[in-house]
């Protein structure tokens, strides 16, 4: 199974903590160092797919009361989603070591 880049990005954004939609967009922008700016429509189409596939779920828990905005819906990784993300990360890691072996990537 191959994962679309956007899906992997969302999984990564949710790996650390539960987030609402706009927070996912910000997080993705942050760890791609601004290279990937996610549009809301694109994000939610992916999110919708991933909800149906059972990789992410709406979170029942809420963050601490002082940072909570009651109307928001938060999303979290499901165990399946975490495994999918891990598998993708491993695949990418193997590709990265292969790239290193062929001196495509400096060790820095």
């Amino acid at each position: 199974m191959t994962l679309r880049p956007i899906e992997f990005n969302i999984l990564l954004a949710l790996a650390a903590e539960e987030r609402h939609g706009y927070a996912i967009m910000q997080e993705v922008a942050r760890f791609s160092e601004g290279a990937l700016s996610l549009e809301a429509g694109t994000l939610y189409r992916a999110l919708h797919r991933m909800l149906k596939s059972g990789w992410v779920a709406e979170s029942a828990r809420r963050p601490a009361a002082d940072v909570d905005d009651e109307r928001r819906r938060y999303y979290r990784l499901t165990p399946l989603g975490r495994r999918v993300a891990a598998a993708e990360a491993e695949r990418l890691a193997r590709l990265v070591s292969a790239a290193r072996a062929h001196r495509l990537l400096s060790r820095a």
Partner: protein, 891 residues
């Protein structure tokens, strides 16, 4: 808040499943994103544009995925449909329950809409029948009329010579024919009878695409002047009436205008004449006679105008192209006959324009008025629904809190409005059929409305479209009004209703309906003024106590001018001695009867190039005509019995003729010449101006020539009587028959009946628009009453507090009325402007009144303001009589 609403609109473009699962969260994210972009300095427009771009990219992709998905799961699809149907059923049940709870509401709403739909459908049926189905012939859009034109007369008949030239030269025309309907004497039966004949060329049948039901039609070579064959084609209706549908009619002989003609065919009726305006125009006759038998002033070989040209354009040829072709033909003719044809041309006009002509403005104005009434009805119902929706706000808010989506609420309102519309459309269509009947009874004489108007397919399509529009207006406006509420505020407000919700929408709606009412009232006022102006306009003659009738002497028996003049003189002698007759005269065309003619003339000493001579309306009268119609003789003398064929030619002109032709000089003794008389004519008298075509005639030069000096076979009789005109009708008939027992007489009627009939159009418009205006006024009154009463009821609590705090009752009263008047003032301004615009656009429908006639506009405004005052006063009283203790205790 604005961002969120905008985001909602965008989310609406995604499939339902998507919206259900991530919609709310999506809206939040869009909102956050736009806010952040805005905070970072991006303009509102830029953020909106990028959000729209995002949606346009993703929503269709999501739909595509969704549909692919759906088609892969047919069983789920069926399930979803079922739930949709269930929801619809639930909505319908809900609406019906609401109606049962408040039957008065349902009744008022349904009746209001039914009334509007009925009137609109009926009026559209008429417009459809008159404007859209006017010419039920094959390729009707390619049919044109050909009119002659001289420099002085823009619309005259076409001569046979011109017809020949057009047939030869005008390539743009597929087929060209001549046609003219005229009374024809049918003799040889038990008594003389007048039938309507149409003198046509053989090619006429090709132009209209006509065929024979039995026998055959005649051909071009059988209709040509000089070699016309003794044949005739009769119409289906005449065949039934005269021959009882007997097939042996083919071969029978009809003596028409004294010439025996053999019936060679029966025309197949291409349509039912009672369902088309003016009976189908060309075929509203009994017999079609070869044009060579035409009993005209000249024998068709000359250049005089004779008949009306009818032609069919070649496919794809424009009217303009046809006209330039006709110009070429006219130029060739001018070159061939420079003395007689110069300055003359022939031009084509679409048959639609000729037939429908001015009635288009009349009908369109009526359709606009009736549409305004329907709109007012919609606005009222919309207001009712909106008021109820606001009443139900708490319930709606609760449902929303319990998970009902905004879409569900809007759907509920739409379903209810749709249900209202279906019920009222059904009632409206029924009522429309009846009002159609009522309107056709009232129909004016010069708007060609058919006897039977079918509610055909296009009427049904129109009615369905109108109903759908009604449902949308009635449903969507309240839905928009209620979708903007703040859940928490409403739920927290308890029983105290939130103020202002939907109030603005309702006020706008009321202004719209008040403005429409003002426009209708003003239009109807202008029409009433027009009717009065028409009735008051001096016509120049006295129509009461005058009997009129028409006759046409058969040319076969009255071959010479002397024969005709002798008949006139002997008949007048006999009629004068009949009991009850004060005076009598023959006149070629009775005023207001639709008959008439004009002639070019030259004044002695002022030679004019042919074709550019001045024109005057042309009247042939016997002595005593002016006395009989009480047209004053201003100078000189009337004709006398001595002004006959052997005496020098004399004429009487009207005041306008005298003043325009010889300004400041005495016209008596001056001489003029016309084309149809060989010698100079001496002016012997000046008569007052008398209108001829109708009450709205402008003054124009009129030339009267003695009928004894220019005898023509068609004439009319006017008889002044002491008693009721019809009481002498029999004696007058007998008097004429004592001179010629075979002479048919028709159109026997009093002159004042003819004059009144010409006012028919004005009365029709005034009555109809008056009724519309009253309905509009009543609906608008109810509308503003509803809004004011509702707002007072909503503000009972607040008014209670103000009264408790010491506000005087008059202050409260004044406040409510002032609010109503503010709305009215805005509406009056808009409505008056609309009325002036309408009156400007439909100029021809009005007479003798300016579109901005101040007294009419002020009266309309005052009437509406009065009604609005009354409608506001009742709720205002109620507000002023609020008992503070009760109002405050309500909480």
């Amino acid at each position: 808040m604005r961002n969120r609403r905008f985001a909602w609109w965008l989310v609406w473009l995604y499939p339902p499943a998507f919206r259900r699962e991530v919609g709310l969260s999506f809206v939040d994210a869009l909102d956050d994103q736009m806010r952040a972009a805005h905070a970072a300095g991006a303009s509102r427009l830029r953020t909106a544009v990028s959000a729209i771009r995002d949606t346009l990219k993703n929503a269709p992709a999501e739909w595509a995925g969704e549909l692919r998905h759906r088609s892969a799961r047919p069983h789920l699809d069926a399930q979803e449909k079922k739930t949709m149907l269930d929801m619809f059923r639930q909505d319908v049940r809900y609406a019906l329950r609401a109606w049962r709870r408040r039957p008065a509401f349902a009744l008022v709403a349904v009746m209001t809409l039914a009334l509007g739909i009925a009137a609109t459908t009926a009026m559209f049926s008429i417009v459809n029948a008159v404007l859209l189905r006017a010419i039920p012939y094959r390729d009707a859009d390619r049919l044109v009329m050909l009119w002659g034109r001289t420099q002085a007369n823009p619309q005259t008949l076409v001569s046979y010579r011109e017809y020949d030239a057009i047939r030869r030269d005008a390539r743009a025309l597929d087929a060209t024919g001549l046609w003219l309907a005229q009374s024809v004497n049918l003799t040889g039966g038990t008594q003389p009878e007048r039938v309507i004949g149409a003198f046509v060329t053989g090619s006429f049948f090709d132009v209209l695409g006509l065929t024979a039901e039995r026998g055959r039609l005649f051909r071009e070579n059988e209709s040509e002047p000089g070699s016309a064959q003794p044949v005739v084609v009769i119409t289906h209706a005449f065949w039934q009436r005269r021959f009882g549908g007997d097939p042996s009619a083919i071969g029978a002989t009809l003596t028409l205008n004294g010439t025996p003609l053999t019936v060679v065919g029966i025309l197949a009726p291409p349509f039912d004449p009672s369902t088309v305006p003016a009976g189908g125009w060309f075929l509203n006759c009994d017999a079609l006679i070869p044009v060579g038998h035409f009993p005209g002033r000249n024998d068709l070989s000359g250049n005089g105008p004779a008949l009306i040209g009818v032609a069919r354009l070649r496919p794809g040829v424009s009217l303009a192209a046809a006209n330039s072709d006709l110009d070429v033909a006219s130029k060739a003719l001018q070159k061939a006959f420079p003395t007689t044809e110069s300055g003359k041309s022939v031009n084509a006009e679409s048959v639609q324009d000729t037939i429908v002509g001015t009635s288009r403005q009349t009908l369109m104005l009526l359709l606009a008025c009736v549409g305004a009434v329907l709109l007012i009805a919609c606005v009222n119902v919309s207001n009712l629904l909106l008021a109820r929706a606001v009443d139900r706000q708490r319930e709606v808010a609760l449902r929303a809190a319990l998970g009902a989506s905004r879409f569900m609420m809007a759907r509920q309102l739409l379903v209810e409005a749709g249900l209202l519309t279906v019920v009222s459309s059904a009632l409206g269509l029924l009522a429309g059929r009846w009002s159609l009947q009522a309107i056709t009874w009232l129909r004016p004489p010069n708007v060609p409305i058919p006897d039977h108007i079918a509610m055909d397919g296009s009427v049904l399509v129109f009615a369905v479209a109108v109903s759908a529009a009604v449902a949308l207006v009635c449903g969507v406006l309240p839905a928009m009004g209620t979708s903007r509420f703040d859940l928490a505020a409403i739920l927290q407000a308890g029983f105290r209703r939130s103020t202002g919700t939907g109030g603005r929408t309702r006020e706008i709606l009321v202004v719209v309906e008040l403005a429409l009412s003002v426009a209708l009232l003003a239009t109807s006022g202008l029409l009433a003024r027009s009717l009065m102006a028409v009735q008051r306009a001096p016509i120049g003659f006295e129509p009461s106590h005058v009997l009129t009738l028409q006759l046409r002497l058969p040319p076969a028996r009255y071959g010479s001018k002397g024969d005709i003049a002798r008949f006139f003189q002997r008949a007048i002698d006999r009629i004068r001695s009949a009991p009850g007759v004060e005076s009598a005269a023959f006149v070629r065309a009775v005023p207001f009867s639709g008959n008439g003619g004009s002639t070019a003339f030259t004044v002695e000493g002022r030679p004019m190039p042919p074709g550019s001579e001045p024109q005057a309306s042309y009247h042939l009268v016997t002595p005593d005509y002016f006395r009989t119609l009480r047209i004053p003789m201003l100078r000189g003398r009337d004709f006398s019995d001595r002004d006959d064929l052997h005496a020098p030619l004399v004429a009487v002109v009207n005041d306008t003729f005298a003043r325009t032709t010889w300004p400041g000089a005495d016209p008596i003794g001056k001489r003029i010449k016309t084309a149809d008389l060989p010698d100079w004519i001496t002016i012997v008298g000046v008569a007052g101006d008398a209108k001829h075509l109708g009450p709205t005639d402008l003054p124009r030069p009129q030339l009267y020539v003695s009928h004894y000096q220019n005898p023509q076979i068609f004439s009319s009789l006017v008889v002044r009587t002491a008693a009721a005109p019809m009481s002498v009708a029999n004696d007058v008939r007998q008097a004429i028959w004592s001179v010629d027992k075979d002479q048919p007489l028709w159109a026997v009627q009093p002159l004042d009946a003819i004059v009144e009939a010409t006012e028919g159009q004005w009365r029709f418009m005034a009555v109809l628009v008056g009724v519309f205006a009253l309905v509009a006024l009543a609906l608008a009154g109810v509308g503003i009453y509803g809004v004011m009463a509702y707002s007072v009821a909503q503000r009972t609590h607040e008014i209670g507090i103000r009264l408790a705090l010491g506000a005087s009752t008059s202050r409260v009263l004044g406040g409510v009325i002032a609010r109503g008047l503010r709305l009215t003032a805005v509406a009056v301004a808009i409505g008056s402007a609309a009325a002036v615009t309408i009156a400007r656009l439909a100029r021809s429908v009005f007479f003798g009144v300016a579109p901005h006639d101040p007294s009419t506009l002020v009266a309309a405004a005052a009437l509406l303001a009065g009604i609005a005052m009354i409608a506001c006063y009742v709720p205002a009283r109620r507000a002023a009589s609020v008992d503070p203790t009760v109002a405050l205790a309500e909480e």
